[in-house]
Amino acid sequence: MSLQAEGTPQASENALEAIGLSKSFAVRSQGILDKPKTVSAVSDVSFQLKQGQTLGIVGESGCGKSTTARLLMQLIKKDAGEIRFKGTSVQNDAAALKAFRRQVQMVFQDSSASLNPRLTIEQSIMFGPLVHGQTKQHALEKAHSLLQRVGLEPAQFSRRYPHEISGGQRQRVNIARALALDPQVVIFDEAVSALDKSVEAQVLNLLQDLKEDLGLSYIFISHDLNVVRYISDEVVVMYLGRIVEHGSVERVYNHPAHPYTQALLASMPSIDPESRTLQSPITGDPPSPIDLPPGCSFAPRCRHASVVCERQSPPSTRLSSEHVVTCHLSNPASGHPNAQSTPL
């Protein structure tokens, strides 16, 4: 279930929409007689990115955040599901993909690995516009104005190579490059995670400015709950390939309903040395996503788990117009002994 109420034809409000996205990867088996195993990296993921908003995706490593981003960009082929851009389903042919990728761009975590080391900064930014048939003069002007826009003086930076500038500056170049084709949606996959805190703050400020000035919509993927809270309007919490909770930032952070979201939020270190965390909210590591057991995949670590959690996948329950949780506890009809209809 996604946040938007069913049957309301508001497709044009959504910049980007994912409907039932799924992807599993085959894992090489240990011996020749072993059954082939699969990792379901992403299963049945649906959400809408509303025009002009930021959708945050949080979760720990292996939860499928990055696979979701790659599926949205169609960098990997989805097993099932649909992606809609501005209400129109994106087809899987070369021409449609080219048009789609012009509108939807991505910024990655590793700022140096995502730039060609043999191209100067301006060449990197011009690359997209040139591929899409713009003139060299136009592409160069665009590159210089974007460099200026992201806070890098073109006269000083345009002829430099990626290794000649700092990590924060490189990430600004990646942002400029992502904007070179005037996209409507930008997907940030841990784009500020590798930056120092003082530089991270500058880049976050830049992202806010760009979004307002250029009317962009963002998908912001991060493991850092504080950053996602700061930048997002809505947030999706993922665990082992599934969305466990989805809602407005205010609802999810102030009234988390899923036991995993509660644990994740309680795991954030306290900033006050006089009120330290005294007890770990959950124990153990996230399990391997290979051959997940039936039922709720969080059940083995969940202190509320009951028999029903181990047997049946939890249904999605709408707690309010802007808050959906996938947990037996929140569904009075689930058969969970402690189930209740109000958020915990």
Partner: protein, 327 residues
């Protein structure tokens, strides 16, 4: 030796790296003391010299390319003057280290049990079976589930959190007096990070060891530290109790660092980011290295490096204008 003498002290420590493009001062004029049973948090951004300081304490820096001056006193012995034999009993026996990336710091071709028992046998007179028992005890101590069967596991067979627990077990197996922890929770997921922080805190209290905990994460520092030292461009700019430094920072850099976190920032409003970037260590500006980014900068800030001065409330700050700023 009496209880007031610090267990470990760094006196005018300078570390310079010889590179192709000249000599880079990575750490300059560090004076630090670590008391018995104390946890000292060392915070700062990348390139500020935190890890270099830590590594110099264990003499892990490449000797040919590094120029170290000053003194590192452990139990009144100068570590920089230790001979090969004394050094190898000091490393791992008296002082040991936990690194950020357990996957690359453990040996991939030996089982966890083997690696811990090897360390135990290296530093004590334990027999093979005693060392193995010790390894098992350590794995139980760091709360690795089904420790018995984990002894024979190789690092790649364990999850990231489990590997970090195993490395902590290895580091503590010879009951060191000082534990050096270099971003030990940075590579871990949030729900695992808090477990490892709590584990380290519990073990530190139980075993009474002194700890230097390097982190760039202010929240992690708040969770573990008694005292905090803040580094910027190779120098310490502020020290004090965790409460003093984190709750009422006085150096403009510390104030900027704490002010620029998104914690508590209101959505849609700008974060008070420090302008500019940390300086290139091979081209440090004259005077205070933070001056080019500092809103309180005056001409005198660029004349000479401000000394780390003791304040009335027993904290140290390296800023010429600290009295005016905190007034």
């Amino acid at each position: 030796m009496n209880a007031e003498t610090p267990l470990l002290s760094l006196e005018s420590l300078n570390v310079r790296f010889k590179t192709e493009s000249g000599v880079v001062p990575a750490v300059q004029d560090i004076n630090l003391t670590l008391n018995r049973g104390e946890v000292l948090g060392l915070i700062g951004e990348s390139g500020s010299g935190k890890s270099v300081t830590l590594r110099s304490i264990l003499r892990l820096l490449p000797e040919r390319r590094t120029n170290i001056s000053g003194r590192i006193l452990f139990d009144q012995q100068d570590v920089l003057k230790l001979g090969a034999k004394a050094l190898s009993s000091y490393r791992g026996g008296d002082v040991s280290m936990v690194f950020q990336e357990p996957a690359t710091s453990l040996d991939p071709v030996f089982s966890i049990g083997k690696q811990i028992s090897e360390a135990v046998r290296r530093h004590t007179s334990a027999s093979r079976s005693e060392a193995r028992a010790r390894a098992l005890g350590m794995l139980k101590l760091v709360k690795i589930p089904s420790a018995e069967s984990r002894l024979s596991n190789f690092p790649h067979e364990m999850s990231g959190g489990m590997r970090q627990r195993a490395m902590i077990a290895l580091a503590l197996s010879c009951e060191p007096k000082v534990l050096l922890a270099d971003e030990p929770t940075t590579a871990l997921d949030a729900t695992v990070q808090i477990q490892v922080i709590l584990l380290l805190r519990e073990l530190q209290e139980r075993m009474g060891m002194s700890t230097i905990f390097v982190t760039h994460d202010v929240g992690v520092a708040a969770e573990v530290s008694d005292r905090i030292a803040v580094m910027y461009a190779g120098r310490i700019v502020e020290t004090g109790t965790a409460k003093q430094v984190l709750m009422s920072p006085r150096h403009p850099y510390t104030r900027g660092l704490l002010g620029s976190t998104v914690n508590g920032a209101v959505r849609g409003q700008k974060i008070n980011a420090i302008p500019g970037v940390p300086p290139d260590l091979s081209q440090l500006p004259a005077g205070c290295a933070f001056a080019p980014r500092c809103q309180y900068r005056r001409d005198e800030c660029t004349q000479a490096v401000p000394p780390l001065t003791m304040q009335a409330d027993n904290r140290q700050i390296a800023c010429l204008r600290v009295a005016e700023i905190s007034a």
